[in-house]
């Protein structure tokens, strides 16, 4: 059987693509580099949009990336069920692309925050969280200046009612509404979160935990069993 193939997208200004690819490989999948200017998803089984400052965060975080040629392929594929994970800038891109509702705005305290963050996994019913237990507390690094999740009252109510809040901050770092750190789409295939699971997969790097592994083992299990 050939290995599951997870695409890792690089835009100009992406920073975390190497860590993302490494996390994918550590979970046992093949990391396939995807380039923003290509029109080709290279037949991958899932896609990881890593963090960074794509297009220098010009205009709004993720606003330019959302129109990259690769996104022209990725957006319809994601709507058709391709699993996609976006962390940090990747989450911002998913919101700008309207694959996830709401938006990420400037942190309440204006400070760029870089620290280890406690979170609660709210649902295991997504493509990327089956290896967690609902209610499980984990620790992942965060590093962002624009991570305050906002959405209108009706959207927030819908996310809560449908169990689509995936990760919630324990000790809200940035003013996110409802302490939201990550959400999913209606089908549970697209997940976005501000924290960085790809930075928490190995003890060797001094990570606060290896809790990030769960997202990658979850998607691998899904792809292998598919």
């Amino acid at each position: 059987m050939s290995a599951a193939r997870v695409g890792v997208v690089t835009f100009p200004g992406t920073l975390d693509d190497q860590d993302a690819a490494r996390a994918v490989r550590l979970a046992g999948a093949l990391a396939v580099p995807l380039w923003h200017a290509d029109h080709d998803l290279k037949g991958v089984d899932a896609v990881f949009l890593p963090g960074g400052f794509s297009y220098g965060d010009y205009l709004r975080c993720g606003a330019i990336s959302r129109f990259a040629p690769l996104m022209g392929e990725l957006i319809p594929a994601a709507r058709a069920g391709l699993p996609v994970l976006g962390t940090c800038n990747g989450f911002q891109i998913l919101c700008e692309a309207h694959l996830l509702p709401g938006a990420l705005t400037r942190n309440e305290g204006l400070h760029y925050i870089c620290r280890d963050q406690r979170l609660r996994v709210e649902t295991a019913a997504t493509a990327w969280t089956t290896e967690f237990a609902a209610g499980q507390e984990i620790v992942l690094p965060i590093k962002h200046g624009e991570g305050r999740y906002v959405a209108d009252a009706a959207t927030l109510e819908e996310l809560e009612r449908e169990g689509r809040v995936v990760f919630r901050y324990l000790g809200n770092p940035n003013g996110s509404l409802n302490d939201i750190a990550g959400i999913t789409n209606e089908s549970g295939t697209v997940v976005g979160l501000m924290p960085h699971p790809e930075h928490a997969v190995e003890d060797l790097t001094g990570a606060p935990s290896v809790d990030g592994r769960g997202l990658f083992t979850s998607i691998l299990k899904r792809l292998v069993n598919a």
């Binding site: 938006a103 705005t105 400037r106 309440e108 305290g109």
Partner: protein, 81 residues
């Protein structure tokens, strides 16, 4: 040739911590009488033709598509005299 101005502002219900920081800085600098500040963006679009109805309709599409994120921002369009 015409110049069209697009102003983009965070919706009133969206927190604007940058505006708040500016509002807090003003009294420290000796300016009084300002009760609130909201910060936004201004885009100046140079058109290669007149700012007629068709052109302004295009500008509206540009604003909705790229210049503003209508989830969190409102925009207004005007032609500069």
């Amino acid at each position: 040739m015409a110049r069209v101005i697009v102003d983009v502002m965070l919706k009133p219900e969206i927190l604007d911590p940058q505006g708040q920081a500016i509002a807090r800085a003003l009294p420290r600098l000796g300016f009084s009488g300002v009760t609130g500040v909201r910060q936004g963006k201004r885009f100046e679009l140079e058109l290669d033709g007149p700012a007629d109805e068709a052109a302004l309709s295009d500008v509206r599409k540009m604003a909705e598509t790229l210049l503003a994120n209508t989830v969190i921002e409102d925009f207004s369009i005007r032609v500069e005299d």
